[in-house]
């Protein structure tokens, strides 16, 4: 990632080298010829256009992408231009180019061992008594424990290498020390405690897995395809394209009449219904008719504990107990006795997740029972038929006239306003 912090060398150069090797393949690679440069004939050269054509054909990409990729090959020095050698640009024309003889091929990489690192740290310790950095001190002691059986060897090697380096010139020694330090900063072997990993592996072996043919049905994407603006567009128009915010206005949190697509989404899953403010409102109305609105109220109150301020947890839990759980409570919820007992026990020491079991029980109750019936109800069906299907806004006749882009109140401002207006101001 960022060179300082990644655990390995820049791998795009390795991949780039693969491309260069493929381009020079005797059978499938580029056809070289002699290129004329002023009065000289340069052998084994190719034109910019040749490079682009070869990339297009062999990687199945268009000209724009081929130019982009080829540009990097020139920038990184693998291919150089014969005309204007200081200008590292790939020109899609008859300009001549040649392959650079690489001065640094990174094809042989060997894994860094803990032993190497231990020797390096031991050397540093001997040379600069106790000047190891914090993380180096930690690693040193971890390694000392882990490969303790080789420690005599480590110390012996450290001494020998130090002795041998003393025979170099001081300037060389300093450079080498810097290089070593920099090298180990990037390449130090990871602290890999093996036993936790073995634990995770063993647990993973015991999990229940589902057959691929069942998991990969892929129906989610199909179901939501018409709702995906980047794929199918949106009505009346995508505000980012047309500069018209009608789409956002029509789909605001609470509107007199919602759009068709929005109401359809409520039927996709119970979570969709609950996460839409209007959907929740409608569902609440339905539950009131069925005399089971306390379930949704209870669920909402539990949500407020889970996500609310820590300081308010105790008082909120008390409220819930009073309103929903106490015997004879005004809006008593029907939870099975086992969950009820567990919850009442937990309330004695209230914490953020004390209501989780009860909340889940009521959630699944609503999901399995009330929700499917709601979708079949007249309330839902009439909402669906009333819902708006916006007209598509045709592209402007005068495309160069840009519409005025209106600003909107920031959420922070809106929260301020509602606070000053008083407690009746909208929820959510």
């Amino acid at each position: 990632m960022y060179p300082l912090l990644s655990s390995g060398p820049a791998t795009e150069t390795l991949r780039m080298e693969k491309v260069i090797v493929a381009m020079q393949d005797p059978d499938m690679g580029m056809k070289m010829r002699n290129q004329r440069l002023l009065i000289t004939v340069i052998p084994h050269a190719m034109t910019g256009k040749d490079i682009i054509d070869w990339l297009m054909q062999n990687y199945n990409i268009n000209e724009e992408e081929s130019l982009h990729l080829g540009g990097f090959l020139v920038q990184y020095g693998y291919i150089y231009p014969l005309k204007e050698p200081r200008c590292l640009v790939l020109r899609p024309d008859e300009s001549p180019y040649r392959f650079q003889t690489p001065y640094f091929w990174t094809s042989t990489r060997w894994p860094v061992s803990e032993l190497d690192y231990a020797i390096f740290l031991a050397k540093k310790n001997i040379r600069k008594q106790g000047e190891l950095m914090e993380y180096e001190k930690e690693r040193y002691s971890v390694l000392h424990k882990r490969i303790n059986h080789t420690w005599d060897f480590v110390v012996m090697q450290a001494r020998e290498q130090l002795r041998a380096s003393k025979q170099r010139r001081k300037a060389d020694r300093i450079v080498t020390e810097c290089q070593e330090q920099a090298y180990w900063l990037i390449n130090r072997p990871p602290v890999c405690p093996l036993s936790p990993f073995i634990e995770t592996c063993r647990r993973a072996l015991g999990r229940n897995r589902v057959k691929s043919s069942i998991c990969l049905e892929g129906s989610y994407s199909e179901q939501y395809q018409n709702h995906d603006p980047i794929m199918q567009g949106c009505l009346p128009s995508n505000p980012w394209i047309s500069d018209d915010t009608a789409h956002w206005t029509m789909n605001a949190a609470l509107v007199p009449i919602p759009t068709r697509l929005r109401v359809e989404r409520w039927s996709f899953s119970f979570m969709e219904l609950l996460s839409d403010a209007m959907g929740r409102q409608e569902f609440m109305m339905y539950l009131e008719k069925e005399f089971s609105a306390e379930n949704l109220c209870f669920w909402q109150a539990c949500e407020e504990i889970r996500h609310g301020e820590s300081s308010k947890i105790v008082e909120k839990v008390e409220e819930i107990y009073k309103n929903f759980l106490a015997p004879g409570a005004a809006r008593w919820v029907n939870i099975d006795s086992k969950t009820m007992d567990k919850t009442l026990e937990g309330i004695k020491h209230p914490h953020r997740f004390v209501m989780d079991d009860a909340q889940m029980h009521i959630y699944f109750l609503m999901k399995k029972d009330s929700y499917p019936r709601y979708l079949k109800s007249d309330l839902y069906k009439s909402m669906l038929s009333k819902a708006i299907v916006p007209q598509e806004t045709k592209k402007s006749v005068f495309p160069f006239v840009r519409r005025q882009r209106h600003s909107s109140p920031s959420p922070a401002q809106a929260a301020e306003d509602s606070r000053s207006k008083g407690p009746q101001a909208g929820s959510d």
């Binding site: 990632m1 912090l5 795009e12 991949r15 491309v19 990687y59 992408e65 990729l69 990174t106 042989t108 060997w110 061992s113 032993l115 882990r146 490969i147 059986h149 080789t150 060897f153 480590v154 090697q157 002795r163 041998a164 290089q179 070593e180 920099a182 090298y183 990871p190 093996l194 936790p196 592996c201 063993r202 993973a204 072996l205 897995r209 589902v210 057959k211 691929s212 043919s213 998991c215 990969l216 989610y220 179901q223 939501y224 395809q225 995906d228 603006p229 980047i230 794929m231 995508n238 980012w240 956002w248 119970f270 609310g308 301020e309 959630y363 600003s407 909107s408 920031s410 959420p411 929260a415």
Partner: protein, 379 residues
């Protein structure tokens, strides 16, 4: 690239086992000898039993890994692209830059959308965090954070607050404290809790009000670079990815590592859940993006192309999950067909690395942040 003049840059037959390999220069009684690293280790371990226990642990690890792959393979009765055969091919997408946000003085490292679908927050290497109305291009707020490399920023769900963190190891008014840089942060479903990932190898859940650590998550063996919250009914899990090439799924309440995936060959820079919550995607320095199904417990797709040679730093899904947008270090954004596994289109425009891509909350646009100091909004 550093030149490794202090390492034995020789390659040849080992003086002990005779196999040609890179050689370490080792001194025995003032004499330099050339052994391959395996023989050096053998020699150093001679005569001591504890050497064997390290080797045997390593062997047990390898065999367990193999068994796990076998188990995962048993239920692999169909591939994703086979299932996708009966789905229609995507038409050509006409995605263009619709806005360019200029104002940062240095590399833009992170951005996040506000739930109001048009505002966003971005953070940059010069320590500035800016809140924009993306639609009108106006800058609404600017904060200076007293550290450079603000790598992570997040918008609170109510839109009334912003969190950020970076090389100062902290996340916002010192809510979260790690012992190394903060690479990612996100609010859980409210303004009151923040989840952070860090270069110190851990993730943590914090209470915003008190700054208290609620839960910590240990299991990565190197820097954790990214995390994402699962969009599920029970809302209790998240996924993280890091420099140890692993993607781990965690239970937020117990702190346990529930599932682990290791198939990338280089650092994982970004992880993001598929909208249904049953799968997630990852972007890596190995120039691929991968797709993992949580119920099948394995990788089900690899998004790669020979012409894509630079590392991928960021991914996000379109609203339906059919498209995967991935930002790369070669300044482009590739759009992948998640189900069919093919590259649908490529977006040019940025003039330096793309550090972050995010689809807006209602799916109408994609925002990208780049080291070229700008953000772009595409639709």
């Amino acid at each position: 690239m550093c030149d490794q003049t202090f390492m034995a840059a020789t390659f040849g037959p080992c003086e002990s086992c005779g196999k040609p390999s890179p050689l370490m220069n080792i001194y025995i009684k003032n004499e330099a000898i050339n052994y391959c690293s395996f023989c050096v280790e053998l020699m150093a371990c001679q005569g001591l039993q504890s050497g064997e226990s390290v080797a045997s642990l390593k062997r047990e690890c390898e065999s367990l890994k193999k068994k796990l792959e076998e188990e995962r393979g048993k239920l692999n009765d169909v591939e994703l692209h086979q299932v996708a055969d009966k789905i229609e091919v995507l038409g050509a997408l006409a995605i263009k830059t619709r806005r360019v946000l200029k104002g940062h003085g240095n590399k833009v490292l992170c951005m996040d959308w506000c739930k109001d679908k048009r505002r966003l927050v971005s953070s940059s290497q010069d320590g500035k965090v800016i809140v924009w109305d993306g639609f009108t291009l106006s800058k609404e707020n600017g904060i200076s954070v007293p550290c450079t490399w603000v790598m992570a920023c997040a918008y609170a769900p109510t839109g009334c607050a912003v969190a950020c963190g970076g090389l100062d190891n902290k996340c916002s008014k010192a809510v979260a404290m790690h012992t190394n840089y903060v690479s990612g942060c996100t609010f859980t479903n409210s303004d009151n809790q923040i989840l952070t990932s860090s270069g110190d190898g851990s993730c943590a859940l914090w209470d915003v009000e008190s700054g208290q650590l609620l839960q910590s998550f240990h299991g990565h063996t190197a820097d954790v670079l990214s995390l994402d919250l699962a969009p599920s009914e029970t809302g209790n899990t998240f996924v993280s990815g890091g420099c140890d090439k692993k993607a781990n799924v965690w239970d937020m309440r117990s702190g346990q590592n529930i599932q682990s995936f290791e198939s990338h060959v280089s650092d994982i820079n970004c992880v993001k859940y598929y909208p249904s919550g049953d799968a997630f995607a990852s972007a890596s320095d190995d120039a691929t993006c991968r797709f993992y199904d949580l119920r099948a417990d394995r990788e089900v797709a690899v998004y790669q192309k020979d012409s894509v040679i630079f590392g991928a730093s960021t991914v996000d899904f379109s609203l339906s999950g059919r498209l995967l947008f991935a930002g790369y270090n070669d300044y482009t954004i590739n759009v992948w067909d998640v189900l069919k596994g093919t590259r649908s289109s490529i977006l040019f425009g940025h003039e330096n690395r793309v550090s972050r891509v995010r689809v807006s909350p209602d799916g109408t646009a994609l925002c990208s942040a780049s080291w070229d100091h700008t953000l772009r909004i595409w639709a």
